[in-house]
């Protein structure tokens, strides 16, 4: 049994299909759902966390159907939404103990202590949350989410609005949770973070999941490494096998290769043997940004904002 399984999961708001026939299987990993604004990421998370009822299809979380047994699903999950919602007039400890009580766990104070320690917040646990930084507030939300030791954690844009150090710390904690056996489902706009932390990513566009794969495989599928060499001399020899010459712009030569790091050495040696002076060499590896843009494209919003439809969606959320 996988921790998250979806079967033709679909959500429609009137004529708009926000999530279209999603079938996937996620277990014991960090799964990142990537997509442009309005592509259906949050709607997917809301269906999986029982906040929205699917129009068609179903999802099983820890073996429980979100349609048939939503309360059992909620027993086994935690959800940290995009909006940072912690009570600034309560202390960090009070915020976590409150969640522990709501989850009905036997010793909420002890569990809160453990969750706060895990998130590195024990020293500031008795300070009012209004004195916490953005990163600390997000970690406090994670402590709240972990207080009942869930099997699956849903995070909607967990690092939005945080500085670099704050983001890094949050991801360290998320990776740590996966290593302890937790399944983490995360939505994010930050491709570099997804590349670094997610075991697999799914790319969703207009409600359809276009592809689900490891970041490495996705990058390899889009294009190979690009080697850029600047030289004022002309090359007269032949290029080795596996190196494709893409063209020359000014004094810059571009090559597509399988492994950029190895090819740099081979090409540098070859150029030197042909008596050429090299000014600079660089390698550009494909990123998830390239994958994302090749699959989804740069989308400008072409249609006028439909206020009525927006309100309907908000009300149902």
């Amino acid at each position: 049994m996988a921790m998250i399984e979806t079967f033709g999961l679909t959500k429609r708001f009137g004529s708009l299909t926000a999530v279209d026939d999603l079938t996937t299987r996620i277990d014991g990993e960090i799964f990142g759902l990537l997509g442009p604004n309005g592509s259906g990421k949050t709607t997917t998370v809301k269906m999986l966390t029982t906040l929205l009822t699917p129009t068609a299809g179903d999802a099983h979380i820890c073996g429980y159907s979100v349609r048939e047994h939503p309360r059992d699903v909620r027993e086994h999950i935690s959800y940290v939404p995009q909006d940072m919602a912690v009570d600034p007039k309560l202390t960090g400890r009070e915020n976590v103990v409150f969640f522990g009580k709501l989850y009905g766990i036997p010793r909420p104070r002890d569990a809160a202590e453990e969750a706060l320690a895990r998130m590195g917040l024990l020293e500031r646990a008795d300070d009012l949350v209004r004195t916490y930084s953005g990163g600390m507030r997000r970690r406090l939300e994670l402590a709240q989410a972990l207080v009942h030791d869930p099997s699956v954690l849903f995070l909607d844009e967990p690092t939005i609005g945080l500085d670099v150090a704050g983001r890094r710390k949050i991801w360290e904690h998320i990776i740590g949770l996966k290593e302890r056996g937790m399944t983490v489902f995360v939505t994010t706009h930050y491709m570099d973070e997804a590349d670094h932390a997610c075991d697999r990513v799914g790319i969703i566009d207009r409600g359809k999941v276009i592809v689900t794969e490891t970041p490495g495989m996705l990058k390899a599928s889009v294009c190979r490494d690009i080697v850029l060499i600047r030289s004022d001399d002309r090359f007269k020899g032949t290029f080795p096998e596996g190196v494709t010459f893409l063209g020359r712009t000014g004094n810059e030569l571009r090559f597509e290769v399988e492994d950029g790091d190895e090819a740099v050495l081979v090409l540098s040696r070859l150029f030197a043997e042909n008596g050429m002076d090299i000014r600079s060499v660089s390698v550009r590896k494909p990123t998830l940004d390239d994958v994302f843009l090749s699959l989804v494209g740069e989308q400008d919003e072409q249609t006028a904002f439909d206020l009525t439809r927006f309100r309907t969606m908000l009300r149902r959320r």
């Binding site: 029982t50 919602a85 007039k89």
Partner: protein
């Protein structure tokens, strides 16, 4: 049930730590009591303080309910509600917790009024009378806070709720029997006052002062509170699923 109390505890802690909110909630009703109860030139009674106190008590509960109505709306706007809804505790306990907190907060405020009124000479020291007054205020509080919480939940934003608040607060108070008895009102106002639910609570407390147990009014308030709470639960379920 215990989950409802945890929600109440959360709101209570937050309220008690907001010093300005706390101070304003306690001083406002006292100001009404002193400036209206003691300053108006009244001829129809020798003890206007005894007459006006039930009105101020009910007004205070009305104000507390109107002010508290937006609490659940803010939980929704700020993202707390989503987190609570994704928890295994019964979702209705969020609504019950909010209604109970608003009512309890109103009762704390009415206690301040009662203490002030007793210090100023009103006759409310009988423990049975006090218990019965609290019962009426509690039921009235549940009725009102169910209405305001539900209205706020169905409105789009806080500004719209503030407009609703302003629209109903003053008319409800001034068309009630709070300030003068029915026989002193113009006839058109007396008709409105007899229809106004705020008058029911005020008249019930005045009956208790006169030694009459207002069984019918109490039953009416109880049934009203039950029906409104039921409607609130239905609307809450629709708004959250």
């Amino acid at each position: 049930m215990i989950r409802t109390l945890w929600y109440v505890e959360r709101d209570l802690r937050r309220w008690l730590r907001g010093r300005i909110n706390l101070l304003s909630a306690l001083i406002m009703p006292a100001a009404w009591l002193i400036f209206v109860g003691m300053a108006l030139p009244i001829r129809f009674t020798d003890n206007y303080l005894d007459f006006i106190t039930p009105g101020i008590l009910v007004l205070t509960m009305l104000g507390a309910a109107l002010q508290g109505g937006s609490l659940l709306m803010f939980d929704k706007i700020l993202g707390f509600l989503q987190k609570f809804l994704a928890m295994p505790s019964p979702r209705e306990s969020i609504l019950y917790g909010k209604i109970l907190f608003i009512t309890l907060r109103g009762m704390i405020q009415t206690t301040v009024i009662l203490v002030f009124a007793i210090i100023l000479g009103a006759q409310f020291l009988d423990p049975v009378l006090l218990a019965q007054i609290y019962l009426i205020l509690f039921i009235f509080g549940i009725l009102l806070s169910s209405i305001t919480t539900t209205v706020a939940l169905t409105l789009e934003d806080h500004d719209t709720y503030a407009a609703f608040n302003a629209m109903i607060a003053m008319p409800l108070f001034f068309t009630s029997s709070a300030l003068m008895p029915y026989d002193q009102m113009p006839s058109w106002l007396a008709v409105l006052a007899r229809l106004n639910p705020v008058s029911y609570a005020i008249d019930a407390i005045r009956d208790l002062q006169a030694g009459i147990f207002p069984a019918m009014t109490l039953a009416g308030l109880l049934i009203g509170a039950f029906v409104v709470l039921l409607i609130s639960v239905i609307i809450f379920r629709r708004a959250t699923v």
